[in-house]
Symmetry: C2
Subunit: 306 residues, 2 copies
């Protein structure tokens, strides 16, 4: 397969033109987003959806997150990622496969229909995780385009995926919220250098390859500025797979927590990785048995076994 | 001298009542702050002064900062503090003694008169420094009360000092701005444990003693919230010596820079430290020859030799 987004191959970084749409579906009156929302996603590369869930549903999700974080020993061991120094749990991967509640959340029409519209077809979960950034010493996530990694290390062919961050704690300006460079998704920034074997083992804690260079980041920030959407628990931040994003550390006492769902178009399933010999394991990048999502309507708390 | 603010002596933290005024001067029509500003400082423990300086003066200060940061070899070696891992300059101490421009800035009526009013008498510089938090990998400063350290390690007897941070780069919500807990200055939070010898050698890079405990910080944040004043270059953030403050790291490309001036009342000069045997050196805490500030009016750029 031809690699139209080559990265980590050259000694200098380049901005390559995006060769895929941002909004893949055609907007109609029946779309799950307003015309303005669709236009904003197209232009800015992200969208904040507020008030999607009832208080009862939010508490239900928070309780489930607490249950998962509180008993990591009950989970598949390799899916639990801890802080580099301290041992606190930072992320749990493949939560849609380990929690019926999260599986139900990902299939909810309020999320899945938006994903199906924006990606223009049927979707599956490329990745899911529960992120928990503790108060007082939450680490930063450096700037990156998700697609760069998914393409190089996972073999995702085209830009036809998106992420949804379902906030489980309040995002304030101070507790290290997600920062995005609005509009940066229109170009593909290549990264410098090659990727070592089994890079994922360390990259989940601290990224060292597939990292954008400082000059290009400065250009992007100058050109696009930085947005850091704040929101109450239950708000959902939807963002394009190629938008440049990251987050600062968090010394405030307020933790940050979200359920993170990556939807990919079924038609955009993984090929062989474009930059490494061995693809990352299935709990990070669904390859073996992608399950097409069948949207489910109704209250989250109904019909999910405890 | 009796220690009315004992800290780092016990195994549990306590909130002790503040036994000193916040605004030490009496407000009159001739005060350099409005009545509302004085009341805000009293209540909140901080104040943002905007538009004090002309553009020409701001550029003058920025150029001087660039000169100092660009040639650290020309400065007293021990006054230059670098990042823990990288070698980038993070702070330069005693800049009022190494730069005529900064000496002039500190004496400027627009700053010095505010300090003299709030502290109710003549003032001198307890400490000065140029802070530079680079873009991309600026580290955090953990929460602390300055007075706790100045009292325990420097022997500052009473709460009659304040800091002024003169912004030399824009403070945005994203580049790790100063965060304050408004109102937290009304109580003195004791820290746990004892201080090792020559603690300052490491504490300037990463504080390990004199650090507030998490439970108390959570209480303070819950009670007072967090404010992070943003501002253009030339804005001045004035804050009480006992307000709880800190800052997150900064992954944005935008550096943070400020000239930091600590004014202490001449009548509140340093005694023997209250918690260590040997006081910190003079470049961190003026002890040997405090110079009473004689306010100077007029444009900063006038009459300062290059």
């Amino acid at each position: 397969m031809e690699d139209i987004y080559p990265s980590r191959r050259a000694r200098t970084a380049r901005f390559l033109p995006r060769q895929d749409p941002v909004v893949h579906g055609e907007w109609t009156d029946g779309a799950p987003l307003s015309r303005a929302q669709a236009a904003q996603f197209e232009e800015q590369g992200y969208l904040v959806l507020e008030g999607l869930f009832e208080d009862e549903e939010i508490r239900f999700l928070q309780a489930e997150a607490g249950r998962l974080l509180g008993d990591p020993g009950a989970l598949e061991e390799h899916t639990v990622i801890t802080e580099p120094d301290a041992g606190e749990v930072r992320s749990i991967f493949r939560i849609h496969g380990q929690s019926r509640v999260i599986e139900r959340l990902a299939a909810d029409t309020r999320l899945a229909d938006v994903a199906r519209f924006l990606l223009g077809g049927e979707v599956y979960l490329h990745q899911s995780r529960l992120n928990y950034k503790p108060g007082f010493d939450g680490r930063e996530f450096y700037w990156h385009s998700d697609f760069e990694t998914w393409h190089v290390e996972d073999g995702m062919p085209r830009m036809r995926a998106l992420s949804m961050s379902v906030l489980l704690a309040e995002n304030t300006p101070h507790n290290g919220p997600l920062m995005l460079m609005p509009g940066s998704h229109h170009a593909f920034l290549t990264c410098i250098g090659e990727t070592p074997e089994d890079h994922y083992l360390t990259s989940l804690k601290k990224q060292q390859y597939g990292v954008p260079d400082k000059d290009s980041l400065a250009t992007l920030a100058e050109r696009h500025g930085i947005a850091a959407p704040t929101g109450k628990p239950g708000s959902v931040v939807v963002f394009d797979c190629n938008i440049m994003h990251g987050s600062n550390g968090n010394i405030t006492p307020f933790p940050r927590a979200n359920a993170f769902l990556v939807y990919n178009a079924v038609d955009n399933g993984l090929a062989a990785p474009f930059g490494v010999d061995r693809p990352r394991p299935d709990f990070i990048a669904t390859r073996l048995s992608p399950k097409q999502i069948i949207p489910v309507a109704g209250c989250l708390t109904q019909g999910v076994p405890a």
